[in-house]
Symmetry: C4
Subunit: 248 residues, 4 copies
C-alpha cells in the first residue's frame, strides 16, 4: 500500500497560485476560517487524500453511509483569483507521518502551480481573549511587511516558539521548494471552538488575498458563543452568591 | 520479511461472492456470530494469514503444541451459496498495520471473486440491553434498503460515529475497489461477551444471506449468561438488604 | 542501514544441528542456563548480530571501552556433538522488530544446518517455588514424548498461554521452515534472578541433548540465593515478633 | 521522502580529521562546549541535516521567520588544525531513528576524511558537584592513555553503564568503520544547564586537541550560575530559620 493516495475528481483547469491550509488544530480556528471561505466562495471539491498515516477508521455519515478518513482539496475562484484549500478532519497519527503527508501536500501544490501557502491555525493562550490578535510567522523574511500591512502581528517572534504539524512543515518544507509560506494564528483560549478568533483571522487573510468576504456567519457564531459563555458565567456567579448566603 | 503472508491449504474451487468478517471487538459479538456460522455450516479452513503487524507471540494449544498467531479464512457452502469467513484472535498492533492488513484481506477477497463484505461487530452502549438492536452502516447508499428490510437499524446514522479497525477499513478501502460493504453491529453493554446481541445480529445476517441457520447454541449461551447475571444481581440485592437491616 | 547486520568471526566448520536460545526473560532463567553451558562447554564466539531494533546505545565495559549493543552466536562441541547458542542482553524495542530479528536468527540457523532449536526461558508464577517444574511447549506434536521422557512437563498446555518474543517466534516461524522447536520454561517467582529454576531446566535440557554437564556453579549460586532469602525472611519474622511485643 | 537529507553550503576544502559532536543531552554540557568552541574558533556553517526522525515542527526565529528543525555541521581552523562540529537542538524521536541518523552523521564524517570523533555530553549524578570530573569512554582500547594524560577519568568503567543516543552510537557504529571515538562526559547534577561542568570538559578536550581556547565566557556563565544558586540557598536557609522561630 502507498503511504499516501491522491484521487482527483477533475484534472483540467485546476491550477492556482495560492493554497490555504485549514486542518484541525487549537480552537479549530484555521478550520473554521477555511470552511467558511469554501462556503462563501462556493468551492469545488477537486481531490481527496487517503493515507495509512491517518487514523484507521471510517466515519458514519448522515445516511449511515461510511466514508474513509481523508483530507480534501477544494478550489475557488473570486474576482478572477483562483485559490486552493487543504481541509479535512485529520493530521498524522505519527511524527514521521507528518513529514510524509506534508511532502505529499507540497507535491500537489507544486503540480498545481502554487507559489504561496497560507497555513491557518490557533495560538492558545489559556484564557479568554476579547480582541484576539493574529500572530504570524513567515518562511521568507521579505513576506513580513506585507503581513504586517494586512494586520498580522509578529509580537510572538523571538520567544522560541514552534509551529507543530502540517502548518509548521508546510512552511519549513515549502521553503526548500521555494514556495512562500505565511502562517496566521488567531489568539484563542484553547478551551473552546473559537469563531471570534476565526473572524479576526479572516480579516487579515482576506486583506492579504485582496478579496472581500462576508463575515456574517462567523460573527453570528461568535455572538452565539459569547452569549452562551456569559450565561454560564452569570449562573456561576449566582451560585457563588448563594453559597456565601448559606455560609453567612 | 513480508508485512503479510498468506498460506492457502487449497487452491481450486474456493471462489465465493460473499466474505463475512468476525474479528475480535466489543463484546466479541462479531466473533461469536462468525464462529457460530462456521460451526453450523461446517466451514473448511482454506488459508492462514501471518503478519509482523500481529503481536509477536505463539499460542500454546491443548497438547502443548504452539501456533503462530494468525487470522484464518474459512469457506462454507449452504443451499448452493458459497461464503468466505475472515476470523481469528488478532487485529493489528499499530495504526498503520490496520491499513496494511486490510489491503491484504481485500487482495484475498478480490482474488476469490468477493463482491460483498459483511463486517460484524458490537456497538457498546455502557449498560445491559434487553432487546439489542442491530445498528448498521453501508459503504454504498443503495445497500441501505436491503439492510433495513432484513431488520438492520440506521438510528445511529448522523451522530458522527466512527468504525475503527478492520471492520471500518474493509468498508472504506473496499469501496475504493468497488466491493459492497455492510457493517452490522449488535448493541451490547461492552462489559461482557454477549451471545444475546450475537443472536440478534445472526437473525439480521441470515435474512440478508437468505439462508436458515440454527440459533440454538447461541440462545442457550445467552440464557446461561442471563441466569448468571440474574444470580449476581440477586446476591447483590440480598447484601444491600442486609446492610440496610444492619444500619436500621 | 540494514535492519539487521551479522558479523561472522569464523566462516568454516561452524555448522551444527542444534541451536539453543537464551536471551533475557522472566527470572533470567534461560540466560543463566545458556551462559552456564557456554562456560562449561568452552564455547567459541562465532558471530555478532547488530540491529536498529535493539536499544540505541553502547555499553561501557570494564576498561572504559564501549561495545555496541548486540546479540551473539557461540559454538560448542562436546562428545562429538556440535551446538550453537544465541545469547545476549537484548530483545527488540518494537513488536515488528521481534519478527524481523527472529527471521534473521532463523536465516543464520538455516545457513548453519540447524534442524532443532531449544528456546529457554522462565515461567513466572508470582511466588517462590521450592521444586520448580520445567514447563514445556513444542512446535510439532511428535516432539512431545521426547520432552516428557527428559522430565519436561506439559501441565501448562491447554490453558490459553502465550510465549512472547524471540522464544515464541523461534518456534512459530521455525515451524514454517521445518525446524523443530522446543521451548523449556523453568518455573520461577518472577521477582528474582533464579539459579534454582535454571538448575532444574539444565537437568531436562542436558538429558535432551544427551550430554553431561557439571551443575556445581548453578547449584552454588542457588544455595547462596536461598541463604540470602532465608536471612531476609528471618529478619522479617524477628521484626514481626518485636512489633507484637510492642503492641502487647 | 528520504529519511535524512543533507544540504551542503560549501563543497570544496571542507575536509577535516576531527569531528566534535555536541547535541543536546544531560545538563546541556556537550552543547555548551561545542557552541563555545564554534564561537571562539569562528566556525563556518557548511551543512544542514534534515530528517523525518526529528520532531515535525518549525522554530519561529527572532524576526518571525521560521526554520525547519535541523542539525548543523560547522568547520573551524585553528593553528593549522581543521575541526568539524555536529551541533543542533534535536535528537531522534524514535529508537530506530537514532541508528539511521547516526549512520548519516558517519557517512558525512567518512566523506570529509574524519578519523576521530569526540562525543561530548553530561554525566548526571543527582547532586551539585563542586569539582566535576570528566568521565570518559573510548571505542578502541589504545585511546585510553591519551585521554587519561589529558585529564579524563575512567572511574566510571566497569559499572555497567550505557551511553544512549547519538553520542553512544557514534562510538559504536564508528568503530565498525574504523573511526576512533572518544566520549567525554562532564559530571553534572542533571537539574541545571551546567557551564562549570562544561568548563572542566573544555579543559580536557582542548588538551586532547592540542589547541588553546579562551575559557572566559564559560567561566563567567559558571560564576553567574553559582551566585544565583547561592542566593537561592541563602533565601531557603533564611526561611528555614524563620519557620523554626515560629515553631519555637
Amino acid at each position: 500500500m502507498e503511504h499516501v493516495t491522491v484521487n482527483f475528481y477533475r484534472e483540467d483547469e485546476i491550477e492556482a497560485p495560492i493554497l490555504i491550509e485549514g486542518l484541525p488544530g487549537v480552537g479549530h480556528v484555521g478550520k473554521l476560517v477555511a470552511d467558511h471561505l469554501i462556503d462563501e466562495l462556493e468551492g469545488e471539491l477537486i481531490a481527496e487524500i487517503y493515507s495509512l498515516h491517518f487514523p484507521p477508521q471510517v466515519i458514519v455519515g448522515d445516511h449511515g453511509v461510511t466514508k474513509l478518513v481523508c483530507n480534501e482539496i477544494y478550489r475557488c475562484e473570486k474576482d478572477g483569483k483562483a485559490i486552493l484549500f487543504l481541509v479535512g478532519d485529520f493530521q498524522s497519527t505519527s511524527a514521521e507521518g507528518h513529514y510524509i503527508l506534508t511532502e505529499s501536500y507540497l507535491d500537489i501544490a507544486e503540480d498545481l502551480g502554487v507559489r504561496r501557502i497560507y497555513a491557518l491555525g490557533g495560538y492558545g493562550v489559556g484564557h479568554l481573549v476579547e480582541n484576539p490578535r493574529v500572530l504570524s510567522a513567515v518562511n521568507m523574511e521579505h513576506l513580513r511587511p506585507e503581513v504586517e500591512a494586512a494586520g498580522g502581528s509578529f509580537e510572538n517572534a523571538g520567544m522560541g516558539g514552534v509551529i507543530v504539524g502540517a502548518s509548521g512543515l508546510l512552511l519549513g518544507l515549502g521553503e526548500v521548494r521555494g514556495i512562500e509560506g505565511i502562517c496566521l494564528m488567531g489568539e484563542t483560549s484553547g478551551y473552546i471552538v473559537d469563531p471570534r478568533s476565526a473572524d479576526s483571522l479572516l480579516a487579515v487573510l482576506s486583506s492579504l488575498l485582496g478579496i472581500e468576504v462576508d463575515h456574517t456567519f462567523l460573527q453570528e457564531r461568535a455572538e452565539d458563543m459569547e452569549q452562551a459563555i456569559a450565561a454560564i458565567q452569570e449562573a456561576e456567579e449566582a451560585r457563588g452568591r448563594e453559597e456565601l448566603n448559606y455560609i453567612g
